[in-house]
Structure formats: C-alpha cells, structure tokens
C-alpha cells in the first residue's frame, strides 16, 4: 500500500499532465495551390513557419479528400488560380479552407489559428508589397494586445496539474472509504464489532480519520511534485487550501462510507463509487470550463463537491484568492460534508 501511495501521484501527475494536452500542435494542412504567384507562396510560407502546422502540397481535390478521409489531413486549403491577379486588381481575393470537424474543438481552434495567420498576411502585404498602391489610412485600426492574467504564458500544465491533484485525492478518499466498511461485512468482522458497546460515531471516526490523513498527505506530496515538475504557482495560503481540502475530503469520505453502508459486496460498492466518481469528475470542469456547460448541467453541478473544490484549488493556487473570495464555496462544501456524513452515520446500523 505504501508504494502505491507514493507512486500513484507521481505517475498520474507526470503522465496525465503531459498527455492530456489542450494545445493544438501538428495540424496537418494540405495546400492545393493553383496560382503559382509569389503572393500565394508568401501565404503558404506563413503556414509552414508556424509551429502549429504541418504543410504539405496536394495536386487535386480528390487526392486531398481521400487523405482527409484517412484522417491524414485536418485542413484543406485551396488557392484559386487567379488569386494574385485578383488581389492586386480588386484588392480582395478568396481562398477556401475545409476543416475536418470530427473533433469540433480541434477544428474550431485550428480555424482560429488560420484566421490569425491570414490576418497577419493581409497586414504584411499592405506594408510590403510594392505592387499594391498603398493607402495608409486604410490600415489604421484598433490594435488589440491581449494580456493573460494568472497564467501569462498560457501554460496549460498549471491548469491541468491542479485538476489532476483533485482527481488524486478524490480517488483516495472515495474509493478507499467505500471499499472499507463493505469489506468488513464480507469478511465478517463487522459481526464482532457490532456486539461490542462501541459507539457509531467512534466507529465511523475511526474509519474516516486514517483516510483523511492519507489523502491530505497525498495532496501535499502531489503539490511538491507539481511544484518541481511544472513550477506550479502557489499564490494563495497553503493553510487555507488544506483546510478546504479537509472539508472536501470529509464530504467524499462520507459519501464513500454511505456507499459502503448500502452495499453488500465490494463489487457493488466499486460500481456505485465509480458511477459517482465519473460523473463528478467529468462535470467538475477539469478539462473544459464548467461555466460553458448548459444551464441544466450547471444546476446539477450545485451538488457536485468536486466542481466546488476544483474551483477553490485553482482560485487559491493560481489566483491567490483568500478566505473572503471563497467563503461561498467553503460554506457549500461544509454543508455537503455535514449532510453526507450524517446520512452515513444514520444508515450504518448495528442491528440487522
């Protein structure tokens, strides 16, 4: 068990954070260039020099389409044969971009990148191209400079590793506690305990506290690894984080214990724990922001402790929020813990 406790956070943090990559790289674009002018070459050069695209050239639409069907191409860009002529004469020309939108998110991000490159191309030809008669007034517009707060390099690893930390302590608390009591039922030790005068409250506390300590230890261990590997910022108070984590863990342990009281075998307990775990994690906003979910889903999220804690850990670590900013979340998590724990104590009966 002890090696598992140490190895699990390292493996999860290293593998999952690097693998669950939200950045789009290696977008395969096939260019069908019917123009052969210098401007069209400038445009394709812009794509090749971008780190996001793998540019290759195609001869016909048929060939490009078949590549897209084989999943070898993500974008097909067609430059018409009178592209340069039209651009100089009419000061505007069309190109066609076809996206493989099987993965909608990927297609949308890729489209954004393309738009950006084409916008830069437009800007450059106005400045550089001697063939175009310049009218400087035309190129006077608002220039937007973005500044990204709390994560200036847009490093997805920081965002991801906090999510993985939450997964980690959720697994430890929910699964260990849901297996525990039901295991005693299976091997029969509960019989012997039930004839003793031990109080329900003492028994349940004895079940919870070891797992609480293990999970908090895992959190600390995971934070150290995240700091070393990804330079995870720790802007807020770590003490506050651990206090909230303890409240959150009591809720998850209580839930696990409740599952344990209503089931008869470890398989059943595992099944139910897995159900809650999957729903809670997928809806918690670990990959996609919870705010962009449909409204009904956000309403369900009110009873999702993982979502609340996911917010809190990111607010404390990345934004440096203090107690005043997260007191709402703390309040809800506390209410959750009390409810679930009393439910578990009530459900655990010593007499059949």
């Amino acid at each position: 068990m002890i090696p598992i406790i140490f190895i699990m956070p390292v493996v999860q943090l290293v593998i999952l954070v690097y693998a669950a990559n939200l950045e789009m790289k290696e977008i395969n674009i096939i260019v069908i260039n019917n123009d052969y002018g210098s401007l069209s070459r400038q445009l394709t050069d812009k794509f090749s020099s971008s780190p996001f695209f793998n540019v290759s050239f195609g001869n016909s639409h048929k060939e490009a389409n078949s590549l897209m069907k084989k999943d070898k191409a993500d974008i097909i860009m067609t430059i018409p044969h009178n592209f340069e002529k039209k651009l100089i004469k009419e000061k505007s020309a069309d190109i066609q971009l076809l996206f493989n939108a099987v993965n909608g998110t990927k297609a949308a991000v890729a489209a954004g990148y393309c738009k950006n490159i084409i916008f830069n191309f437009n800007k450059d030809i106005i400045v550089n191209s001697p063939k175009l008669i310049l009218e400087p007034i035309n190129y006077k517009r608002i220039n937007i400079i973005n500044q990204f707060w709390y994560n200036p390099q847009l490093d997805y690893k920081i965002y991801m590793s906090t999510g993985i930390l939450v997964i980690l302590i959720t697994i430890v608390s929910l699964f260990l506690s849901s297996m525990n009591l039901v295991r005693e039922k299976e091997i029969g030790t509960i019989e012997q305990i039930n004839v003793t005068p031990i109080k329900k409250f003492h028994f349940i506390a004895g079940k919870l506290i070891p797992f609480l300590i293990i999970a908090l230890f895992e959190l600390a261990f995971g934070l150290i690894i995240a700091k070393l590997l990804f330079n995870l910022p720790m802007s807020g108070s770590l003490l506050l984080l651990f206090v909230v984590a303890a409240i959150y863990l009591i809720a998850m342990l209580g839930l696990g214990l409740f599952i344990s009281t209503v089931t008869e075998t470890q398989q059943q307990a595992m099944f139910i724990a897995f159900f809650f775990y999957l729903v809670f994690i997928m809806m918690s906003g670990i990959f996609t922001p919870a705010e962009s979910m449909p409204e009904w889903a956000q309403k369900i999220n009110y009873i999702n402790p993982v979502a609340w804690f996911m917010r809190v850990i990111r607010m404390i670590l990345l934004k440096g929020s203090g107690f005043a900013q997260i007191k709402n979340e703390i309040f809800i998590l506390t209410g959750y813990s009390i409810t679930v724990l009393s439910l578990a104590v009530w459900r655990y009966r010593k007499t059949g």
Binding site: Q192, V195, P197, G352
Partner: protein, 315 residues
C-alpha cells in the same frame, strides 16, 4: 434478581416463508453450560444473533441478565461475549493487536482480565506477534474465545465454535468452557456434533426452528424407551439395505462401523434376526445390545416429528 440468566419467551423470526426460529421459549440458569444441538439450518445461528442483539425478532421477547434484547441492547452489549461461527477477527492484525483492540473497545486492558483469559490465551501466547490470518483453525478459535472474554462477560454465546477444528483441539476447547463455567459465566453454545451434547449441563435438540426436546443429556437418554442393537457384518452397504427391507425393522441407521437397529417388537429374538441375515448371505454377523446415545434420541425425535407432520397432512 432472577436466578435465570437467559429468558426467552415465544421468539419467532422468519426469512420470507422460512421460519428460522419458530415460537421458542427457554430459560437458562445462571452459570449453566447450555447446548443448542441441531443440524445445519436448524435455526441455531438466528437464535444466537437475536440474543446477542444483532438481529431483531419478529415477535416475542428475550432477556439477558434482566436486560431486554430490544430496549436495553446497549447494556447487553456490555455484558455478553459473542463468538460468531465464522472467524471474525481482523486477519491483518496480530494476535496481540486483536486482543488489545477489543480490550480497548470495552474500555479495559488485557492485563486487567488476564486471569480470566489466561487459560485460553496461554496456548496462543507464543504466537502473539503472528497475524491472526496465519493461525491454524484451532488457534484462531482460541484467539476468538480470548477476544470474546476480554471484557469479563456474564454471558458467553458461542456459535459452532468447534466446527472445522480437529478432535484434540475440540477436547481442549470443551475443557476450557468447563473452566470458564466455574468462574460464574453462563455459556450458551451451539453445535452440530451430537457427541458434544453430553458435555453440556442441559441441551435443546433443535430442528426446523423448534426445540424438539430440552433437558439434561442423561434425562433425554433415559426417556428413550426402545432397545437398540448394534449390528455388524462384512458388507455394511448391503446390510443396511437388507435391514431396511426387513419386515420387523423399526429403524436402521449407520453409526460409524456398525448399524443401529431397532426392532418393531418389544421382545426380539436375536437368533431369528441372525438367521434372517444369514439367509441374505451375510457373514461375520455380530449383534449386541447397546445403550442409546444423543444421536439416537435425535434421530428418533426427528422421526416422530416427521410422522406427526405427515399425519397432519393426511388429515
């Protein structure tokens, strides 16, 4: 103060259509070693679980040391020791840790009650650092008994403590129970082994959730009216078949190497029986009169019960 330690009045418990315990009443005196004798599924465990407050009965009530099993279950849990049929201690704790754990639950220490458990614990003390899961069957059972005794209970319930234990350990175990009895502990023990019945002060023969008979083992045997003959021959399988076909047979059952035979007639002619068996080609025939034991009584009572049921169905 009542002189009875366990008072059971009209307790019933059903699982669906099956009546596990059917309207049972019983009084067990203080300091008595009481045996529940019955085959598997007779309802022994259910009755013990009701008495140890682990299970609520459907109807009737019971008192342990004047505490009601429904209303005063908290008091009962302080004064009873229970050893379930299945080994129910923590297998990944050592012998010593298990004992200390149960002592601390009862708010006591091993040292305080050492003289009570010494008798039992001394057998396993050399292995106190060993994990409970790695003990042999007999040692597990001694550890379980030590844990059940750690809080100096007034009443001890043992559910089939000798099932799956070798003959020597069984004998040792009953010796320990006799010693505990001297320390004013009322003991109720269930067992499927008929030969253990004679070691109890009083026994109940249990079948289908009912007590067929409750008395001292001697009285139960004395009540047995019929003469039993132990018959041996070279071919036991053929012998039992032939005896069951014989027109004068009341009953014939295998008992170890021999067959216990009861004749329909009161004055039986042994020679006639012997001649009959000879005519059936048996050799080395040996017939002798024997005293009945508890098992004979049990089988006889079961037979009566069954014929009563069939008569009821006929009417």
């Amino acid at each position: 103060m009542s002189k009875h330690s366990i008072i059971i009045s009209n307790i019933s418990k059903s699982y669906g259509n099956i009546k596990a315990v059917d309207d049972i009443s019983l009084n067990v005196k203080k300091g008595e070693l009481f045996g529940l004798i019955g085959s598997d599924g007779a309802g022994k465990t259910t009755l013990l679980r009701i008495l140890t407050t682990l299970l609520l009965s459907d109807s009737g009530n019971a008192q342990i040391e004047n505490f009601d099993v429904k209303n005063n279950y908290k008091n009962i849990r302080q004064i009873v020791g229970y050893m379930p049929g299945r080994f129910s201690l923590y297998e990944d704790l050592s012998v010593e840790e298990n004992l200390n754990f149960f002592a601390s639950i009862f708010n006591t220490t091993v040292a305080q009650n050492y003289d009570l458990i010494k008798d039992v614990y001394s057998y396993i003390e050399p292995f106190k650092k060993r994990r409970a899961g790695q003990l042999s069957g007999g040692m597990k059972q001694k550890l379980a008994l030590s844990c059940a005794l750690i809080h100096k209970p007034k009443v001890l319930f043992l559910d089939e403590p000798t099932t799956g234990v070798d003959a020597v350990s069984r004998k040792e175990f009953w010796g320990m129970l006799k010693n505990l009895q001297k320390k004013d502990i009322t003991i109720m023990v269930s067992t499927p082994y008929m030969d253990e019945a004679g070691l109890c002060d009083r026994i109940s023969l249990m079948q289908n959730g009912k007590f067929m008979e409750t008395d001292t083992p001697e009285n139960i045997i004395n009540k047995f009216q019929k003469q039993i003959y132990s018959i041996k021959s070279k071919n036991k399988q053929k012998l039992i078949k032939d005896l069951r076909k014989y027109k004068q047979t009341y009953s014939a059952n295998i008992f170890g190497q021999a067959i216990h035979y009861i004749d329909k007639r009161n004055n039986i002619k042994i020679d006639e029986l012997k001649n009959h068996l000879k005519s059936e080609n048996h050799i080395d025939i040996e017939i002798k009169a024997v005293k009945p034991n508890i098992e004979d009584c049990f089988i006889e009572l079961m037979k009566k019960e069954q014929s009563a049921v069939t008569n009821q169905l006929k009417n």
